[in-house]
Amino acid sequence: MTIDERARELTPPTTPALRLRGISKRYGPVVASDGVDLDVHHGEIHGLLGENGAGKSTLMKILLGLVKRDSGTILRGEEPADITSPQEAVALGIGMVHQHFSLIDALTVWENVILGDTGKIDRTAACRQVEEVSRRYGLPIDPLARVDRLSAGERQRVELIKCLRRDPSVLILDEPTSVLTQAESAELFTVLRQVVRTEDRAVILISHKLAEITAATDRVTVLRKGRVVFHSETSATTPQELARQMVGRDVSLRAEGAALGLLPVDGGRPADTGTAPDTALDTAPDIETGTAPDTETGTASPAPGVVPALRLRDLTVTVDGVTALSDLSLDIAPGEILGLYGVEGNGQSVLGDLLSGLVLPTSGTVEVGGRPVELDRPGALHRAGLGIIPEDRHSSGVVLDMSIAENLVMKSLGDVSGRGFISRRKMYGIARRLAAEFNIVAPSMDTPVRSLSGGNQQRVVLARELSAGPSVLVAAQPTHGLDVGAIEDMYQRLQDAASGGVAVLLISTELEEVMALASRIAVICSGRITGVLPTGEATAERLGMLVGGVAA
């Protein structure tokens, strides 16, 4: 804690920038907001925590006039503010960066930034403005770049610039870091600190990563089932306490470790927590009995003699003349969790698209259970027994405008239909069972997936993929946007799947996650595998070198 942080905490705050009193909102049977009181002060970063579906996004949308509250008042300074539309919110100096990107891919950065402006479009002025904001806050971006070419971190920068350009005095960020790498998150927080300290703005930060909240915020509020259950100065609480308050019970060390994981790892061996070796013992007996993997050549044979459940052979993918994957080979044995670790943007998403059947390789093969999959046949991967939790669930994981029930059965229509007709009874039966089993909270099974909270959308995908009884499960960034409890749950399910004989390919940019779950770690860099290590031998240094493209 720095001196001026301490000083600010000791000075009694003046009138809060924003006060919420008794805000309530319900959607049918779901209470999204239940008499919420919240004070946000100038010059502070206010953390907002809560499980998936606790009502964080809803509360912020109410603040922004996007959702109409049932009751309650909002005070902006001394004045009551009746915010009923985003324009009023903007006029009151409230700006928000939403949970999901809202940029248009086919447009350039500056076009996206000025989108929604009225009046004449002045390209040079717009570009100049983008550059100015970007310089002022240290958010480097090329205003002429097309958004679909940008990495997640860069897109987040664009969203932020778009918001900061309007000079909001209250800035709301809804899970801004769930798609960012550690380094990118760290940069973001530096920017936020500066915005708060030098310009006396107020920031509301929503995140599931407890470490971020503890490191970056001054004050923290925890929501549970729409209600404020905990409120404290950040310095007076601990991540463990916050996790307990969120979930309402103690959470396991492992999930907590992952939730805490965003803290920069400074050189030490993250596996020292002791969880990783456990994992290897619990879930991958094959590895223990098999011979040591061949780490030198980088080929990946888990256990000679065992037919790998998933075998990727020399996969090369060229997109628009750029080689996204080159000669990628991996074997994953039944019952094994293999972590594919690497910095965002090194071919992971293309690999995910390939295993979703959306991209065809230029060369190479995919074998499931020893049999090559005809990738050009629609649904072949699914039929071969490969389930996938895609990284960007909105683009291919769900159909936002179809109901929960429909999304849950859409890959296995055969199970709910006879002679081409869909049995609604069967469909709702399956949906209700899965919703209960996977804790999907929603007003009804007819609710469109679009109106689910981010975490619940992810559960829909997980439920669908796991319920199909896959022999291979590919999980790309499966915990993005999940709360601590849900992360714990996701980990448990991945491990249960593995101990049930499913081969799990865990694609992740989070070191702790990979270390905690995987028995072997493959490192990807520029579309190739730079090395495969058993988790026990993986040190931060070795991984760091592999991630940088240097063979360990």
Partner: protein, 392 residues
């Protein structure tokens, strides 16, 4: 307590309205539609008054021609049938995300195929009309399918190609009725031959239930009603409909879920074309026309059917009453023209009414976007708040 009850009734109202209009809608849209209809009617009356007619007399004429007696009703229903068929097909393609707007041409192709079968094939008995209908559906379905092929092979936009193919279809039909060995009417003595086919034999005509001056219900209408119900069921209850919906809502997810995207999209186009073709056969073989193939046979039914689907927001069942309304405007419009009001005014009135139905949802959505200011793009992904506002 009070508040909660209020919320309850608001909920009922919302559900009622959203049944009328699928997608994010609500009382705002409902109110806007009523307002727009009033504006359209006022404008129409003004127009009629300005061009020297009497609005009241015009409404009377409209009513006379379309609903005043059973004969008028019969004529209305004759128009409604092909309109409904076209609209049902348009619902299918629009829901799959592939917009077929070439129905006018597909109607002609269907009529051409039906005429050829009816005049050139030696089929006797009731089988003839069945084969005619089949041929019309197949020919127009294949015709529309060509657009899907062009998309697949050359990436030609479907909207553009279906539209342009309409003009090709018009040329083909014109050629057919001007070419003696194809379908031009036979020369009797030294009489001048017109660009039209011979009249269809009576065995090639669609029968009717009921007789003049009573209510006549042509088989075409029954076919159209059955088609609407079948497609409504297919869309909401079958795996095929499920896949079509998935394809229209998120093609990537559909592909991921194992849908044969190109094949299914092509099929949706072909089905929509086939229904337009059936409409063509109905136009040819029902008493709405002269039972000959003529270049003008389609009478813009293809375009109007597209509008019916638009107003019905791509729901086959909702298309039934809308097709009836358009039928009223057609049969009443003819009568209106007969009383001296310029006939183009009928088209203007029709256009105004269509706008009144189609514009409000768009305007409401746009207003919402404007209000959401800088988050314009946000409306795309964060539609929850949009739906929310509709409730509010």
């Amino acid at each position: 307590m009070n508040e909660r009850e209020d919320l309850g009734s608001g909920d009922v109202l919302r559900r009622l309205l959203s049944n009328l209009n699928p997608g994010p809608s609500g009382w705002r849209t409902g109110a806007a539609t009523i307002l727009a209809l009033l504006v359209a009617l006022t404008l129409s009356s003004l127009l009629i008054a300005v061009t020297g007619g009497s609005p009241v007399a015009s409404v009377e004429a409209l009513f006379q021609g379309s609903m005043s007696d059973l004969t008028a009703w019969s004529s209305t229903l004759l128009y409604a049938a092909p309109l409904l068929l076209v609209a049902v097909g348009a619902c299918v393609s629009a829901r799959s995300g592939l917009f077929n707007i070439g129905q006018e041409g597909q109607v002609l192709i269907g009529a051409l195929a039906a005429a050829w079968v009816g005049l050139r094939l030696a089929i006797t008995g009731p089988l003839l009309i069945v084969v005619m209908l089949l041929a019309a559906g197949l020919a127009a379905g294949g015709w529309a399918g060509l657009s899907s092929l062009m998309y697949r092979l050359r990436g030609v936009n479907v909207v553009v190609s279906t539209l342009l193919m309409t003009f090709v279809a018009q040329q083909i039909v014109a050629y057919a009725v001007n070419t003696p060995w194809l379908l031009q009417e036979s020369r009797i003595g030294n009489a001048i031959v017109s660009p039209q086919s011979n009249p269809l034999p009576s065995s090639a005509l669609l029968g009717s239930i009921g007789e003049y001056p009573g209510l006549q219900i042509n088989a075409g209408l029954i076919i159209a009603l059955i088609a609407a119900v079948l497609i409504a069921v297919a869309i909401s209850r079958t795996t095929w409909g499920f896949k079509i919906t998935m394809l229209g809502r998120n093609p990537l997810a559909a592909k991921h879920a194992g849908v044969r995207v190109t094949a299914l999209g092509g099929a949706a186009l072909a089905v929509s074309g086939a229904f337009a073709g059936l409409a063509g056969a109905v136009l040819l073989a029902s008493p709405v026309g002269v039972n000959r193939l003529q270049p003008g046979l389609s009478m813009n039914i293809g375009w109007d059917g597209l509008l019916v689907a638009l107003v019905a927001r791509n729901r086959p069942l909702a298309a039934m009453p809308v097709a009836l309304l358009f039928g009223v405007l057609r049969s009443g419009g003819g009568f209106l023209a007969a009383t001296g009001v310029p006939s183009f005014l009928v088209d203007v009135v029709k256009a105004l009414l269509v706008l009144a139905f189609v514009a409000p949802p768009v305007v409401v959505a746009l207003a919402r976007r404007r209000r959401s200011g800088d988050r314009t793009a946000g409306a795309r992904r964060e539609a929850a708040p949009v739906a929310e506002e509709a409730i509010a």
